[in-house]
């Protein structure tokens, strides 16, 4: 370790990750001293930690790019791109925690470890967003995945929750293995694991191409792109609802963060073969997701297929391959975090006597029995379907615009037709809420302030991003610029 000194290490690049990790340890210890009934305090500490991490991320915006080690090829790179993703990830996690408190009480699984696991997973996600080295990305991927496997099975008295965890774990372990194998092949041909060096030493040998293919499989699994999506509906259905939302928003955003960075910095995203492959992935992902969602009666499965379809839309932005396309991807993931977690928050509020209400028909007449909840759900469904003036529309607009500009006219036409298909099942939810008489008792439980707050924030953000998208888009554009230059 010659030539290595503490002075070369800039800990500020790690600040947000360190805060979240520290928070995880703090919550773990607090759990020992805090009585059973005071577990909500742990949630407060968790949220506080993540808000602090978000503040520190924002504070570092002006000083970027920060490198963890002052070398030519740092492992971690806190740039504007990473900060933008930190904000998406932290927002998603905060909303998840807020939505969880009441839910965990209802299902009788309120343990301190829940929050610890979420914080660990967030630390992993943020590592993925900041990593500029394949090994570091893999590390982040595992730091994120393992807590999420546990969280998926957190409702351990339910068979379905166990099934979800096991399925997710087994397939996820395979995907991680494949990903690692891909890294090995790329290291074998280029002699490097950091993204910039890979680019410099890149030769399209069969082995290197196979490596890229394996990386695609790994990422494809985490973003649940078709044909690596098989686990998604089962895992989403069985996992506790807040975790389902967390998986759809957080895990997916983190995977996209690394995916985009790897393919922008190390490989050429606009190279013809990669582009053609992504084109096929995008189309298949949108179409399979939307068509399968039509047939669902379980709202969590429907939202699972819908999240597959949304990964497809995001891939359309990646296919565009331009700076505008990538900015649109970032913007879309932000918008998606709010509208999707909002929809899950409504489903969470339906939990009664320890039992989740998962059928779409369980929402019957919600628009009259609980008007505010019905209105919010209507908003989220419209936004997911891409109807203006909501965040979902502006997000789709930016993606389609970028893809058209890049000349992918057919893909955009197929994507808008997909949007029309998707509206069918989103409308069905709205229709059920405003038409039918209640099928089951939907009496209000005790006050769920935290979940209400999550819902309010999501709804407000969905509208604000829909009507005044300029600010957030500008941030996304600047973040991407930092990455490309």
């Amino acid at each position: 370790m010659t030539g290595f000194s503490m002075a070369a290490i800039d800990l500020r690049a790690l600040e947000p990750i360190l805060i979240v990790s520290g928070g995880a340890l703090l919550v773990l210890m607090l759990d020992l001293v805090i009585p059973r009934r005071g577990r909500a305090a742990l949630a407060a500490v968790t949220v506080g930690t993540m808000v602090l991490a978000a503040v520190s991320s924002v504070a570092l915006w002006g000083e970027t790019p920060l490198r963890f080690m002052r070398q030519a090829h740092p492992m971690l790179h806190l740039d504007a791109y990473a900060i933008f993703f930190n904000l998406i990830l932290l927002t998603g996690a905060v909303l998840t925690v807020l939505a969880s408190v009441n839910y965990l009480e209802e299902v009788g699984a309120h343990h301190g470890e829940y929050y610890v696991l979420i914080l660990c997973a967030v630390a992993g996600m943020m590592t993925m967003a900041q990593a500029t080295d394949l090994v570091m990305i893999f590390l982040g991927l595992e730091m994120m995945s393992i807590p999420v496997y546990v969280l998926a099975g957190f409702n351990r008295r339910l068979v379905k929750s166990n099934e979800a965890a096991l399925k997710y774990f087994l397939l996820g372990a395979f995907a991680s293995g494949i990903f690692l194998y891909g890294i090995a092949m790329i290291y074998g041909t280029t002699g490097a694991t950091d993204l910039a060096s890979i680019r410099a030493a890149w030769k399209p040998t069969p082995l290197a191409l196979a490596g890229v293919g394996l990386l695609l499989v790994g990422f494809g699994f985490k973003i649940s792109s078709v044909p690596f999506h098989m686990w998604t509906p089962d895992a989403y259905e069985g996992a506790p609802t807040p975790i389902t939302g967390f998986m759809a928003v957080g895990v997916k955003a983190a995977a996209f963060a690394a995916f985009l960075r790897v393919f922008l910095v190390a490989f050429d995203l606009s190279a013809e073969k990669v582009n053609a492959l992504l084109w096929v992935f995008a189309l298949a992902t949108m179409t399979v997701g939307n068509v399968a969602a039509i047939a669902q009666h379980n709202i969590k499965r429907m939202l699972a297929y819908s999240s597959i379809a949304h990964a497809g839309y995001v891939l359309v932005g990646m296919v565009a391959g331009t700076a505008a396309g990538e900015a649109a991807v970032l913007y879309y993931l932000l918008a998606y975090a709010f509208m999707n977690l909002g929809a899950f928050a409504v489903v969470i509020l339906l939990v009664r006597d320890g039992e989740e209400r998962q059928e779409i028909d369980d929402l019957a007449a919600l628009g009259y029995t609980r008007p505010a909840l019905g209105l919010a759900m209507t908003l989220f469904m419209l936004s997911l379907g891409g109807i203006p003036p909501t965040a979902g529309f502006t997000g789709k607009f930016y993606i389609f615009r970028a893809a058209l500009e890049a000349g992918d006219t057919w893909l955009v036409i197929l994507a808008v037709l997909n949007s029309a298909v998707s509206m069918y099942y989103y409308l069905r939810v709205i229709g059920v809420m405003y038409r039918n008489e209640p099928t089951r008792d939907l009496r209000a439980t005790g006050p769920s302030t935290a979940c209400g707050l999550a819902l309010l924030v999501s709804a407000a953000a969905t509208i604000i991003l829909g009507i005044f998208p300029a600010g957030a888009l500008d941030l996304a554009v600047r973040s991407v610029r930092a990455l490309i230059s």
Partner: protein, 531 residues
């Protein structure tokens, strides 16, 4: 009152009313209807200010109000009013309070939700008519689907779910392709001018490549626009959602749908398709005219055999809107003016017909012609008003319908004599199906016991219908009131179409084919145009 944001006030006043309604406590339930009515009446009063301050000699946009929105993308909030939108705005602000009054006893479930939906819908409709930024227009256009979906889906008849979803999806597919076309146009503008803009006036300047055959940008863009608008009009064969939606919708929903939403389609053709894609319009003209003629005759024939009065009126809309489109595609002063006037006429007369059908349905809970009969005896006032509106609908001279149809046929005869002759049969068929229906419903023996004891219209209902009859008569005897305010705008529109058409085929370098298809056609029209 400052003029620059007058139009914005008119547009958003109903939405403000809706928001107030939304936050009122449930205890104030009794005042909901009154409050909503007050909001819509205030909007109407404010729109009359637009009418008085409108400068008929100008062909451009007036009362323009702009504000930056997403500047980097050339998206701004920009609204304006011209001769085309003036009357559509007035029609909207006029009919919404009327439907609210008509729904006083009709809608009893979820009253607050209904009123909020109606007021929100009014803002969206007005917004679509006054937007002169295409992005803004698209937002209003698309967002409009939801309130109408809810109105049909919540307060509709037995098959409301099916009808509402069909309505939504039909329109949505068209609109989404419109979005793609819009963005393409916007990129084209950037290519040619180096700046981003969705401003309609600047997009008018874009040169859109055109060539023979239909695989060229202009024709494809035209088709994407036309699909969105043709679904809404609806033009045959895209009309199948309309009868379902009308039959299932509550009376107020049917009135708004027929009187205003359908006009969105025709308005879209006038405002966007013609001036943006003149060559493609000319190229596809035979097809478009053909569809209009089929729509006119098909709608009339199908209307004739309907057993349900509401369905009959719905199919008659297909026929009438065919006339509107025929007038627009005639592309001359009379045709355009007649088409525009007929849009207003159809809004008034069909709106009134739906109101009347709703009134009998409230009493008899059926709309089957066979169940009715001899109603003139128990319901003399109702019968008289129904007859007046029927005569307006079939175009009796002295009432509004005549002027519009006459101008349309006059215009169409100049450019498409065969199509006009065929369409003229539609006028005759309209008289047949409407009068035959009136005869079966109102005259003859009143042999059903249920029909004999029906109560005639009360003051509220008479007021509602009379309010619509006034402009019906007024426009009939004094159409100049209308045409004097639209002529300048339509002349400007024609000038723009001609100028752009000439420029585009000269610029395309393929002079021969487009000249034969596009430029030549428009030039020929220009020669025949009467001032």
């Amino acid at each position: 009152m400052p003029t620059e944001n007058l139009l914005t006030c008119v547009t958003f006043l109903p939405l403000a009313g809706a928001l107030v309604l939304l936050v009122l406590p449930a205890a104030a339930e009794k005042s909901f209807r009154g409050l909503a009515l007050a909001a819509s009446l205030a909007t109407f009063a404010l729109s009359l200010v637009l009418w008085t301050r409108f400068d008929p000699s100008s062909g451009g946009f007036q009362f323009v109000h702009a504000a930056p929105w997403i500047p980097e993308y050339g998206i701004e909030y920009k609204v304006g009013l011209d001769g085309i939108s003036l009357f559509l705005v007035l029609l909207t602000t006029f009919l919404v309070p009327i439907t609210l009054v008509s729904a006083w006893t009709d809608i009893t479930r979820h009253v607050r939700a209904f009123l909020v939906t109606m007021l929100a819908l009014e803002t969206l409709m007005l917004g679509a008519f006054v937007s002169i930024n295409l992005f803004l227009f698209y937002i209003f256009w698309e967002a409009m689907l939801l309130p109408m979906y809810l109105i049909i889906g919540i307060w509709g008849g037995p098959r409301r779910v099916y009808a509402a979803v069909k309505f939504f999806l039909y329109t949505l597919v068209g609109s989404l392709l419109l979005l793609v076309a819009l963005i393409y146009l916007y990129l084209l503008h950037h290519q040619q001018f180096g700046s981003w803009s969705f401003d309609l006036l600047r997009l008018y300047e874009v040169h859109i490549p055109f060539g023979p055959g239909w695989w060229n940008p202009q024709t494809l863009l035209f088709m994407a626009f036309a699909l969105a608008f043709a679904v809404k009009v609806p033009m045959w064969p895209l009309h199948t959602w309309l009868p379902d939606a009308h039959v299932e919708a509550p009376t107020s929903g049917s009135v708004i749908l027929a009187a205003i939403l359908l006009k969105m389609g025709a308005y879209g053709f006038l405002r966007f398709s013609l001036p943006l894609f003149p060559d493609a319009t000319a190229q596809l003209m035979p097809w478009l005219i053909g569809l209009c003629v089929i729509g006119i005759i098909y709608g009339a024939l199908v209307a004739m055999v309907q057993a349900d009065v509401k369905k009959l009126v719905a199919y008659s809309s297909v026929s009438h809107l065919g006339f509107v489109m025929l007038g627009i595609f005639a592309l001359n002063a009379q045709g355009l003016s007649g088409g525009l006037l007929q849009m207003i006429n159809h809004g008034l007369s069909t709106g009134a017909l739906f109101l009347l059908v709703g009134m009998i349905y409230e009493r008899r809970h059926t709309r089957e012609i066979a169940q009715l009969g001899g109603l003139a005896k128990p319901l003399p006032i109702y019968a008289a008003l129904f007859l007046i509106v029927t005569l307006s609908s079939i175009g009796l001279p002295g009432l509004n319908g005549f002027v519009g149809e006459f101008l349309i046929l006059l215009g169409a005869f100049k450019t498409h004599p065969w199509a006009a002759s065929l369409s003229a049969t539609g006028v005759i068929l309209a008289a047949v199906y409407m009068l035959w229906m009136v005869q079966r419903v109102f005259f003859g023996p009143c042999d059903r016991v249920e029909n004999r004891s029906l109560l005639d219209l009360d003051l509220r209902e008479i007021g509602v219908i009379l309010a619509v009859v006034i402009p019906i008569v007024w426009l009939g005897v004094q159409p100049g009131l209308f045409t004097s305010r639209t002529d300048a705008t339509l002349a400007a529109l024609m000038a723009r179409v001609e100028a752009k058409s000439a420029k585009s085929w000269k610029g395309s370098g393929q002079a021969a084919a487009p000249a034969a298809h596009g430029g030549g056609r428009v030039a020929a029209i220009q020669e025949r145009r009467l001032r």
